[in-house]
């Protein structure tokens, strides 16, 4: 049973990522949106290169969260179209595998987004990376946290008719700890503030673990309705 869950989760993640690869909505719409937000931040801070460098970690993560809302919303919109979610339910796949698979697919998309946005921040905000290991670990852990919490909340609002407006209201306050932790870790990695980056990584990993368990456990209750 144990391996079946992983295999099914892998299957679901593959399906979601394949849909994304073919539709290219993430690459053609979500990434340009995120880059635009970075540009708007630069306009808002008035060509002050020093301010941009100082606040780059926070601005980066706010941008990731905003783009994540779109990615999560899309992950469930795809399932709802043509009654695909009903068929997923009928397939008899363990809800834990469905949750794991969807969260994994969202996390992969977020990591791709982080890499592209990271390049944008280095180019546009003139930051230099001092600690690559911390940067990569924090980026992965934060993506996992946003993906697990996001998948849980995405399922909670899916099919309610007002999910586009409801998801931000519910999810953004919940992922506030990720924003705090990831920003602090990046401040350390960029060398803009003396934060204890590795300690913050613990918070990010803990957050991802808590929401991973919570999501996996409650996903069955959310799927049982048609």
């Amino acid at each position: 049973m144990g391996t079946a869950v992983f295999r099914d989760a892998w299957l679901i993640a593959g399906k979601d990522l394949r849909v994304e690869m073919r539709s290219r909505v993430g690459l053609n719409q979500i990434v340009p949106f995120a880059v635009t937000v970075l540009v708007l931040f630069a306009f808002a801070l008035d060509t002050d290169q020093e301010a941009l460098r100082t606040y780059a970690p926070g601005l980066f993560w706010v941008t990731v969260l905003l783009a994540a809302l779109l990615a999560i919303g899309r992950s469930f919109a795809v399932d709802l179209a043509d009654g695909a979610s009903d068929r997923l339910l009928l397939s008899g796949i363990d809800p834990i595998a469905v949750f794991g698979g969807k969260a994994l697919a969202v996390a992969v998309q977020l990591v791709v987004l982080e890499v592209l946005l990271g390049a944008g921040v280095v180019l546009l905000f003139d930051v230099t990376v001092h600690r690559y290991g911390l940067l990569v670990c924090a980026g992965l852990a934060a993506a996992a946290g946003v993906a697990t919490a996001g998948t849980l909340y995405g399922a909670l609002v899916a099919g309610l008719g007002v999910s586009e407006t409801l998801l931000p209201v519910l999810l953004l306050p919940v992922v506030a700890p990720v924003l705090i932790g990831a920003t602090r870790a990046f401040q350390d990695a960029f060398g803009v503030a003396g934060a204890e980056g590795w300690a913050w990584l613990g918070l990010l990993a803990g957050f991802a673990a808590i929401y991973g368990v919570f999501g996996a456990l409650s996903y069955g209750a959310l799927l049982e309705e048609a």
Partner: protein, 270 residues
């Protein structure tokens, strides 16, 4: 459907047409009387908060200390409301009865009202005392804000027109996750700013005056009575709302049946 029809139908099936009862009347009068006494105590009896430092400076909260008699009980009522929502949501997921669902909804609404009141009174108190409306370095203040935002989201879900069971189940999960999240937010904000301006347990350190302590305890008692009074009314309103929905469904069914009967009669005599 007109209100007149609703109330007459409600009486017909034995549903009370009001949320008032002997218990709520007693609680209501107790709250009012308690408030009157509290205002008198807070403004006439409790002296302003001052302390003379070793250097001879006069410091303290001065008259702002009187705001504590609204701020502190509000915060406790907000946490009570959200705590009750958490427990009721847990009970709903276990037993799946409307009673627990309505209890979760009612207490969350009261929790949000007192949560907002806590933030507003805290902010007004902070202006003269900390010289700022908002202090990001204060863990409790930031946690309370995030908590209120989470439960405002919860109430938004409750307002969506969706099937009652679907809404109840999803709301219950949101309340559970939201409550767990309060702990995470609290810890992370604490680490975020490793300092706090908030009063560190003055209640137990006995830095607080006897008059202030008594009035504060009295304000808790009044707050609890107010909470019970509001919860009873809100719960009964939720119950009546659910009854109206059921009646509307029944009436619609009866209308359809009458139409079908009429159509059958028409067919029998062509």
């Amino acid at each position: 459907m007109s209100t007149a029809t609703t109330s007459s139908s409600a009486t017909r099936v034995g549903v009370p047409a009001t949320t008032s009862s002997r218990a709520t009347k007693v609680l209501g009068w107790l709250t009012l009387a308690g408030f009157a006494v509290l205002v008198a105590l807070a403004f006439a009896w409790v002296p302003e908060d001052t302390r003379i430092t070793e250097q001879g400076d006069v410091v303290g909260q001065f008259d702002a200390v009187r705001l504590m008699f609204v701020h502190v009980p509000s915060a406790i009522l907000a946490y009570t409301g959200f705590g009750l929502t958490f427990l009721a949501s847990l009970a709903y997921l276990r037993w799946r009865t409307d009673w627990w669902d309505m209890m979760a909804h009612s207490s969350a609404e009261i929790g949000v009202v007192f949560g907002v009141l806590t933030l507003v009174t805290g902010s007004i108190w902070g202006r003269p005392t900390w010289q700022t409306w908002w202090e990001w370095g204060d863990v409790r203040q930031v946690t309370a804000l995030v908590m209120v935002l989470v439960f405002i989201g919860y109430l938004a879900v409750r307002r969506i027109p969706a099937e009652a069971a679907v809404k109840a189940r999803r709301s219950a999960v949101i309340a559970l996750v939201g409550a767990v999240n309060i702990v995470i937010v609290n810890r992370s904000v604490d680490w975020w700013e490793n300092r706090t301006l908030h009063q560190q347990s003055t209640l137990f350190a006995r830095k607080i005056r006897d008059e202030t302590l008594f009035t504060l305890s009295f304000s808790f008692a009044v707050g609890m009575v107010l909470f019970a009074w509001l919860l009873l009314h809100r719960f009964r309103t939720a119950y009546l709302e659910s009854q109206i929905e059921e009646l509307e469904v029944q009436e619609a069914l009866e209308e359809r049946r009458a139409e079908a009967d009429g159509a059958d009669h028409g067919r029998e005599q062509p």
